[in-house]
Symmetry: C2
Subunit: 294 residues, 2 copies
Amino acid sequence: MRTDTTFKRAFNDMIDIIRTLDLGAELPSENALRTQLGVSRTTVRKVLAGMSARGIIISEAHKRIIREQPRQKERYPKKETLAISEQVETSFMEWMLRGDACPGTEINETELARKFGVATTIVREFLNRFQKYGLIEKRQNAGWVFKGFTASFALELFEIREMFEMRSARLFAALPDGSPVWKQIQSMRAAHLELLADIDARFQDFSELDSRFHRLITAVAPNRFIESFQDVITMVFHYHYQWNKRDERARNEVAIREHLALIEALESRNIALIDRACRLHLTSARETLLHSIA
Amino acid sequence: MRTDTTFKRAFNDMIDIIRTLDLGAELPSENALRTQLGVSRTTVRKVLAGMSARGIIISEAHKRIIREQPRQKERYPKKETLAISEQVETSFMEWMLRGDACPGTEINETELARKFGVATTIVREFLNRFQKYGLIEKRQNAGWVFKGFTASFALELFEIREMFEMRSARLFAALPDGSPVWKQIQSMRAAHLELLADIDARFQDFSELDSRFHRLITAVAPNRFIESFQDVITMVFHYHYQWNKRDERARNEVAIREHLALIEALESRNIALIDRACRLHLTSARETLLHSIA
DNA sequence: CATATGTTTCTTATGTATAAAAAACGGGGG
DNA sequence: CCCCCGTTTTTTATACATAAGAAACATATG
């Protein structure tokens, strides 16, 4: 009943590993592959068996030789490598952001399960996890209510975000010169400049960089609650902007410049400068989000 | 397979309703009872049927008469009125706080289900919801890890709590005289004074008052993320102090006095005073918690 | 026609089943 | 001993089943 997405993902990854090796070369041990693929040895063996069956490798006593290079078409399609629970996430986000749901809509576990073609258990589990994003609410014995991707959601989100991020940014002022963070900040700046140079072609890569940047800043002084809140922010930006592409390029370019200004402020160690740059960026991000909701 | 805890809770509540009425009196309509009991009419009818079967009421055409007063022993025991999911919460907390679990302990869904005598589905659902408290973490395809009720947990918790509560407390300074909040603050003060007067007998009532007080303060400017964080705090204090009763009376008395000081500060509308009173209380609460963890 | 009760249908809460994945066990060779 | 592989056991992810509860529909009664 469980899907074999772990196997398929590992299989695809194994193809990539084999491609880095020569024909006739010997594969690493099962344990080594286990670490490289990040799965259990059971799954490694299943992948190896699959490779053998396809004639890609030959299993001899205590070793496995590459017989022919796997072709790209042997890969499993992306969708089959996603656990059902992950697919449900995507389905739900589409349902939500496509506008099938307005504030106050009642969410019906059974109906969603039917619509998404999965078991109710999964939908239920998803909703329970999704609750932390503040967009749905449970009513005892009577399903869920969708509270809406509204302006007040955005405002509440940004109120917290501002508290958390200002707190972290300020801590930079007191950071010793020797801290490894400064190096990470440097390479973060480089990544921003690179993206900026090629902004016309790569503006869609910003979303991921944005998330990494803000996580780096909040990581100066780890706090599990702040980190968990970053998930909320990442989710909002990831999904919301998938459905609101208006001005995407321009929007991202502005944000990159604001990030660069913040980086400079952080490096100055001047609290006033840091505060200003941080608040400027957050205000602008908030306005952009509000604008795209309305 | 579902338990009938809703019915049993409603049944007990109905006993209380009947006790406020006279023998021979007519019961309210099913719909009226539905609202009073907070359940569906289906459940109301089941309760009425139960009452009839026990001879407590007589169902005539379109009305129900009280035939005899129900006795207390007819109530269902408290435990049977708790949904399985609620029982699991208690079981898990005991397991955790009794010390069966040290930081890094792996949590096994199957084993917990066996230990608690419930279905794995329930344990899984509970863990998913419990994740937000920051005490456990999920590993892909491999269960959960208990991160421990440690000092760093307490410190991270209080860092956020301080941000949130100072934010709310400060907002009081700008509140207009006419705001209904001031009345609530007044009655909150009264409740504190009452408890203080009878502290030797009632010190265990503090936990609930504490939660209400802090929720009232954060409610001046509602923010779903702050409210959700209050759940974390409530959980920590509710369960942790159930297992750490040392100095409970003294500890609660101190906290009450700090609350009273904060109330006074809030009413002064003086930001500096508010800040000081709030920080004082939070610092002392943090120290108490840290002390009891060590 | 409005409100109350009787009846039917749909949904949620909880238990059970099972394939996939992980972990544990065990023997053999360097 | 330590790593490697074959085998067995345990656990997780997912599906499905069903009684309890909610909601919708229907009928009756004032």
